[in-house]
Amino acid sequence: MVSDSTSIHAVLGLTDAEYDRICELLAREPNHLELAMYAVMWSEHCSYKSSRRHLARLPTEAPCVLVGPGENAGVVDVGDGIAVAVRIESHNHPSAIEPYQGAATGVGGILRDIFTMGARPIALADPLRVGPLDEPRSNWIAEGIVSGISGYGNSVGVPTVAGEFVSCETYRDNPLVNVAALGIMPTERLVLGRATEVGSAAVLMGASTGRDGIGGVSVLASAGFDEADDDSTKRPSVQVGDPFEEKRLIEACLELLEAGLVSGIQDLGGAGLTCAASETASRGGTGMEVDVSVVPLRQHGMEPFEIMTSESQERMLAIVSSANVDQVLEICSRWEVSATVVGRVTGDGMLRVRDGVDGAVLAEVPASTLHDDAPSYDRPMRPPADLAVRRSVDPAADLAADSLPVSSPGDCAADLLAMLADPSWVYRQYDHQLFLNTVVGPGRDATLLRLRDPRNGTPTGRGLAVSVDGNHRWCDADPRRGTAMVVIEAALNLACVGADPLALVNCLNFGNPTHPEVMWQLSEAIDGMAEACVALDVPVVGGNVSLYNETNGTNISPTPVVCLIGVHPDLARRPIADTLPPGTALMLLAPPGSALGDEADGCASSLGAVALGGSRWAWERRGCRDGALPDLDLAASVAAAQFVAAAVREGAVWCAHDVSDGGIAVAIAEMCCHGGAGVHARIPSLGGPAPAERALFAEPPGRILVAVEAHDVERLAHAASAAGLASRRLGSFGGSRVQIGRLAEPGLDIDVALDDTLARWSGALPQSFAGPVDGEAA
């Protein structure tokens, strides 16, 4: 049992050294309330104490950046006086405990970050990662997460337009629920969460405060799971969401901001009122007094520490000049949003918690110490000892020799079909069309939205593109190059809908930062991201770090996820054809030096170019997580993205699709499924050693497939060559079979009926969620 404050700090997640530092800052011992406030604000989740010094290496500046990292959301200028706010967050641990509410409240939280800046949320994106779907618990978690996003996002009235759905055993006990949101506003409306005017009122808006989510950031988000934990002990730390409350809160806040009645506004997310009050005060260089006795409560008998750290959802703190308070309360009342003056801005820099307006002081700490004095650790890091050995493995070696996890080794068609899955089972549960902006919806390379003027709804004629991407297999093989490849893939995805990249936010999902290998992964990933962003000339405008994604001491594969936004300059027509007419040519565009010909061309490439390490085929079909990643030519990949974006905009191609997980075979088959056409294709042998799997399933970066009118092939090849890219016609769409062979090899490696391909593609996810057949059916 806990008997004194020196052990309470440990229970709250603070180290002895951190406790000593608090005593030093206060020049006394903290009381329990103060200790609870430091514990949530100095948690990993709020303070980024393990990652801060590494994040500083990311490029964050560009002419378009209006607000960079550190605020509620990044904001970029997209022209025409329009600003786009973008933010990504994780809700991993709550979703592991209670999938529906965990995912639902993630949506609610990210939306508040967007409208806090003054922007109307226009889109959500949900990159999801779950365990094997044939295991009942993972299946339940996955279904709950998707239902939670559907239930909350649809009802709150913001379309979910993009996402990812990845299943892998690394996420068995620790799913990753990342959520990104975009909002638009007139540039002049940009609001920052600051309390600058002494004497202003602090108005708490929205839901009442309950015991849900007490210590969510410290209990849940900043520690891993282990077997000693009973999930039920952590369930009270998961918040419960109410999308109807949030919908009214959005409308009320946007009206207040539009009317210029609030000088600063901040959502109550992680660490609740403590965080909102201290952040607005310390950013504004002021202090704040909070009276806990007037906070509307959901339960009787709540302690001050519960009120100050509760993470009850759908709450905002608005900073309002005293002259405007009545008007603010009136607008809130019209939207049926509860609003209460709970504090006032002071000039002394202290966050003071009182019981009654001039009542007893329950806590009194310098507001800035909760943020600026949070610890920052240079944690030890080192690469795994077996790194070199692991990277020397060739997953395609001895294909016939050992026992494989699949029933049909060497059957390339079976490998292909097993790696096809149409994600529409997920996204059709999300309203992805609200606001009438969705030109290219979820399920394609990137989403493309109409960009409309937020002042009057008039279309600008331009488009806003978004892609969310991660690849844990690449980052497991090589966190640095793997992360750079993820960023490049996001840019290629935007290119496929004709957009150029503008800005990026990241969600860094990693394991336990006290493990030196994990810190090494994090540091390497940040360097890889920085390199790719510099090559693309794209700033990082915000991010989120989710650590302690581990169970029983086993860390997840490193999973940095990026949300890249871009602009399409002239949206005169849909940039993607829905069907592919027979005879349409299939072309491959790739960085120069890629071996696109057969061996007779004399451009045989090194094994490095076609390495299978980190490929989906190696992991899922070979059960092999070792091996080296293929080479990455950043400059050439950027050139490929620019070339394809321009070609798509000019209407020079029917559609484009980047080659990503599953390699060229999966990419070709996906084009067939989308276009409703068969194909006959001869792909480059890639010059490396056989077998066929290397040519079919390797994932070298920077390659894009395009469907193009047969008579345009030559013109496009010339243009590609002028842009410094290699290109080759691989075959034609048409017919009722998906046929893929290699150049210079007789016969076909894959020959399956289009109908079978479509059935597998569209049936994969529904079958995974159909549940076990119960023998009781009459």
Partner: protein, 240 residues
């Protein structure tokens, strides 16, 4: 674009907004683009302000708490909508609006959760079953339309006698091709006996632009504007 030129101009359409409605602005946009004069009608208002047609748009009125449409039907605006409908005024409920109209007793039957128990947002093929109602002008029976659906509770149900009556009176407005939600008789939309009140699950406002994938929804919204103009003319004849 040329089609819009023939649509009666200046028809005044009110779009109802309950707390939790979220397709209100999209519906206003789509109607305004067709030349309608649009008004947002808040659910706590008790007058329609002289509009010539009413649309109850999609969304989650009152958070769908208790049951879809169950709280919304008690809003002051619904008394005005009921009187307007009783006097023959054109009233269309889209998705959640359809649910509100059944709860309010302006249309028979009810909408249950989808048979697959999951929300469905997808393009949907439809076949017009009758054109003798306020969304029928300019369309032909058995005309095929592609209009998105976006609902969790779209599984239309009614008793056998009601179904027979709906069929016999031509009150089935449209049916699904490949029934996505388990609706009885593939019903996607119905009307009342006089044809001036229509409820449908598909979202015509989401199918008004080539850029967004379909323009079939324009046909239905244009038909509503014709119906409202006709009602205006009939009323003025009556007055004269």
């Amino acid at each position: 674009m040329s089609a819009a030129m023939n649509v009666p101009m200046n028809v005044s359409v009110g779009v109802v907004q309950f707390p939790g409605t979220n397709c209100d602005l999209d519906t206003l946009d789509a109607l305004a683009e067709l030349g309608a004069r649009t008004t947002l009608l808040r659910s706590d208002e008790s007058s329609l302000g002289g509009v010539e047609a009413v649309v109850i748009p999609g969304g989650f009125a009152h958070g769908d708490y208790l049951r879809t449409g169950a709280i919304a039907r008690f809003s002051p605006i619904m008394d005005a909508v009921t009187s307007f409908a009783g006097a023959g005024g054109p009233v269309v409920g889209i998705c959640n609006g359809f649910q509100v109209l059944t709860e309010a007793g302006l249309l028979p039957g009810a909408l249950r959760p989808n048979a697959g128990l999951s929300f469905l947002c997808q393009p949907q093929q439809l076949i017009m079953a009758s054109v003798d109602h306020v969304l029928g002008y300019g369309l032909s029976p058995s005309e095929e339309l592609s209009i998105p659906i976006n609902h969790f509770e779209g599984n239309y149900v009614c008793d056998g006698a009601t179904l027979q009556r709906l069929r016999a009176n031509g009150q089935v407005v449209m049916r699904y091709v490949d029934n996505p939600n388990g609706s009885v008789d593939d019903i996607a939309g119905i009307c009342n006996e006089s044809g001036n009140v229509v409820g449908l699950m598909p979202h015509p406002e989401r199918a008004t632009s080539e850029l967004l994938g379909s323009t079939d929804g324009r046909k239905l919204l244009e038909a509503l504007l014709y119906a409202a103009a006709d009602a205006r003319q009939a009323a003025s004849h009556h007055a004269a």
